[in-house]
């Protein structure tokens, strides 16, 4: 399965209309490209496992 606008560089891909069977049939390059964009978007070396620990850090 190909995506109509996979060349667009901004915006997480919307997969909510796809079933698990559809997901399994996705083109490998589409998945790889979407993952790459998502990781790049976080910036500053942070990845999608980033955690935020800044509440009341002073004490």
């Amino acid at each position: 399965m190909q995506m109509p606008d996979q060349d667009q560089e901004v915006g997480l891909v919307d997969l909510t209309g796809l079933s698990l069977d559809d997901l399994a049939a996705l083109d490998d390059s589409v998945v790889a490209n979407a993952i790459r964009l998502l990781q790049e978007r976080r910036g500053n070396g942070a990845d999608y496992m980033e955690t935020f620990h800044d509440f009341n850090a002073a004490p």
Partner: protein
């Protein structure tokens, strides 16, 4: 056919300015589901290519079971895929599989065990829908936790033994080499503690007609992702959590309706954390676990409300950043963030700004509510964060690290802050806020900024010659790298500077009888003088501490004391260049005239005469 998520600048501004954004939150929730689906697709492909045996025996059967259930009960499967537990699992496994360096799984389990969690997730969907199944499942120290459901404890002979889970006409069962555990027939069993089955702990509260329902998840292995130990919930602890949440929800649902509505729409799990130290509450949000907030048991309902708003903001912005880029991916220099002990990349200020903006808005709305002590607390927090956020926004604005969306975001943040500038605050609130902020900033500068050594030697030579200092030398410094956070117990004065307005009664006990509060901690005479307003006495004590050795806390204390006593120019040096004063004083330590106050006064230059303008405010 699949498209892409888009977030308009109006939506982005609405999130920042605090407008009711339920429609945007719905979009963010579905976007996070899409992210989980994408990760699952990537994970399946990666495992198929690199671990074909596990793919065939574990992942594929589980995936096919989920896909079959989805055909009849799509909502059940979608809910599971969208959950923070699923997000934590799929993110952790994917990172483990694809990282160029050998990262350790968050769970500490073998990768095969973690990958096998998909079978547990499929089993959960099957149990919820009454679909017969029989799957091989990974146990963890003899236990098996079904996400958002409960834990079976069949026991095991090894830590990572594999058992079986099944559902048939006999009901649900989990089997190990040791025993078989019967799973309750209901899909929402009552909470239970002990025995071989423990249902997940749920908290439900309602105020002002608004309900908030969450799990208190102390057991899902993939919500153990915050780098802080979790705190197991006991039956007694559950009562305390429920009572505190009831009080908190009363504050939020009645006084902060928009936040309460948005939190109720997004947050599905609270993860109880253990405090690293008694006076050090913690909370956290993970980009991989949208809808989960991790927190230690807060001291009071106001604090819990503040934490929920703060961490909710982190979760929302993290989801936003999955859709639109706010920060350019280029490197940026580390800088001061008033909410952190370490040095942070400038771009990371985006997250802190958004989270603390929510907090500041909470306190802004909270002003004038409750007892006199509670009103002072709201005033201090609002005063403090209004100032710190304004400064941080300026740093971010000048850093050149934002994308077009990021600039829009920052513009909205600044418009909110501008709207707050004309709010009049009680002087005591401003003073308490500035003391705490100054203490933090000075300690940070001393830990993270290294003055240029040639500049320090030039200053020392000038001192010895009796010449005035060269002001240009003051600003020459660089960020030290990889400075670890200080032990919690070292920062007891900072904690008390906060406690004096957060809980005046407890503060009073601390100052009068510190040994009774925590036997292993002490407040020394200088700190006690500072905390009780005897600033000249505090300054003398800090000078003595500095003269006997390097003492970052003493320099910070001296800065706070001199903010109150003056001289104004010395106070400014201590606030703005404490790392230079400390380095110079260290260099001159053998000189009998080089007491800290004299070094600072020399760096500051002569005080203006009465008819010359001066500026005594330094932070």
């Amino acid at each position: 056919m699949a498209g892409r998520y888009r977030l308009s600048t109006a939506d982005l501004r609405g999130l920042v300015t605090g407008r009711d954004q339920l429609a945007v939150l719905r979009l963010l929730r579905t976007a996070e589901l899409s992210k989980h689906q994408l990760f699952l697709a990537a994970l399946m492909r990666e495992v198929a290519q690199t671990r074909s045996a596990e793919y065939a025996t574990t992942l594929l059967p589980a995936y096919q079971l989920l896909a079959d259930i989805e055909k009849r009960e799509p909502k059940v499967v979608r809910t599971l895929l969208a959950s923070s537990q699923f997000g934590g699992w799929v993110s952790d496994c994917l990172r483990h599989l694809t990282s160029p360096v050998d990262t350790r799984s968050n769970t500490g389990a073998p990768l095969a065990t973690d990958l096998g969690q998909l079978a547990v997730i499929a089993a959960t969907a099957a149990l919820r829908t009454g679909r017969p199944f029989d799957l091989s499942v990974p146990l963890r120290h003899g236990a098996l936790t079904f996400p958002d459901f409960g834990t079976a404890y069949p026991g095991a002979t090894t830590a990572w033994e594999w058992g079986r889970a099944r559902f048939d006409t006999q009901g649900g069962q989990v089997m190990s080499s040791v025993s078989t555990v019967q799973i309750p027939a209901t899909t929402d069993p009552p909470q239970s503690f002990g025995g071989d089955w423990s249902s997940i702990t749920r908290l439900t509260t309602e105020a002002g007609g608004l309900r908030f329902k969450v799990v208190l998840d102390d057991r899902d292995p993939f919500l153990d992702c915050y780098g802080i130990d979790r705190a197991p919930v006991t039956a007694d602890g559950l009562v305390i959590w429920q009572r505190l949440l009831d009080q908190t929800w009363d504050i939020l649902a009645r006084g902060h309706r928009r936040y309460a509505t948005m939190i109720a729409a997004v947050v599905r799990a609270l993860v109880p954390l253990a405090r690293p130290a008694p006076m050090r509450p913690v909370s956290s949000t993970a980009a991989s676990a949208f809808g989960a907030i991790a927190l230690s048991l807060p001291d009071d309902a106001l604090t819990m409300a503040e934490v929920l708003v703060h961490e909710f903001q982190h979760g929302v912005l993290s989801a936003v950043m999955d859709i639109v880029p706010l920060i350019d991916s280029g490197d940026s220099l580390p800088t001061y963030a008033p909410w952190r002990e370490d040095a942070r990349p400038v771009g990371s200020l985006v997250h802190g700004l958004f989270a603390h903006l929510g907090m500041a808005r909470f306190w802004h709305h909270q002003r004038g509510s409750g007892s006199a002590d509670e009103q002072l607390r709201a005033d201090v927090e609002f005063a403090r964060w209004r100032t710190l956020l304004t400064e941080a926004a300026e740093v971010l604005a000048s850093a050149g690290v934002l994308t077009e969306y990021g600039e829009e975001f920052l513009s909205a943040v600044r418009s909110v802050l501008t709207g707050w500038q004309d709010q009049t605050l009680p002087p005591l609130a401003v003073e308490y806020g500035e003391d705490l902020s100054l203490d933090h900033r000075v300690r940070w500068r001393l830990r993270h900024l290294a003055p240029d050594s040639d500049a320090v030697h030039s200053l020392a030579s000038a001192w010895r010659r009796g010449s005035p200092p060269e002001n240009a030398l003051l600003g020459l410094n660089r960020i030290r790298e990889c400075v670890p956070a200080p032990p919690a117990s070292r920062n007891i004065r900072s904690y008390l500077l906060g406690l004096r307005y957060r809980n005046p009664a407890q503060f009073s006990c601390w100052v009068k009888r510190p040994g009774e509060q925590a036997p292993d901690l002490r407040v020394d005479a200088a700190d006690k003088a500072l905390l009780t307003g005897f600033y000249a006495s505090a300054a003398r004590g800090y000078r003595r501490r500095i003269e006997t050795g390097d003492d970052i806390d003493a320099w910070a204390g001296l800065a706070v004391a001199r903010r109150h006593t003056g001289p104004a120019r010395s106070a400014r040096i201590l606030a703005e260049h404490p790392e230079v004063a400390a380095a110079l004083q260290r260099t001159l330590r053998d000189n009998p005239r080089a007491d800290p106050d004299q070094v600072v006064a020399w760096l500051a230059g002569p005080e203006p005469t009465a008819d010359q303008p001066t500026s005594a405010r330094v932070c």
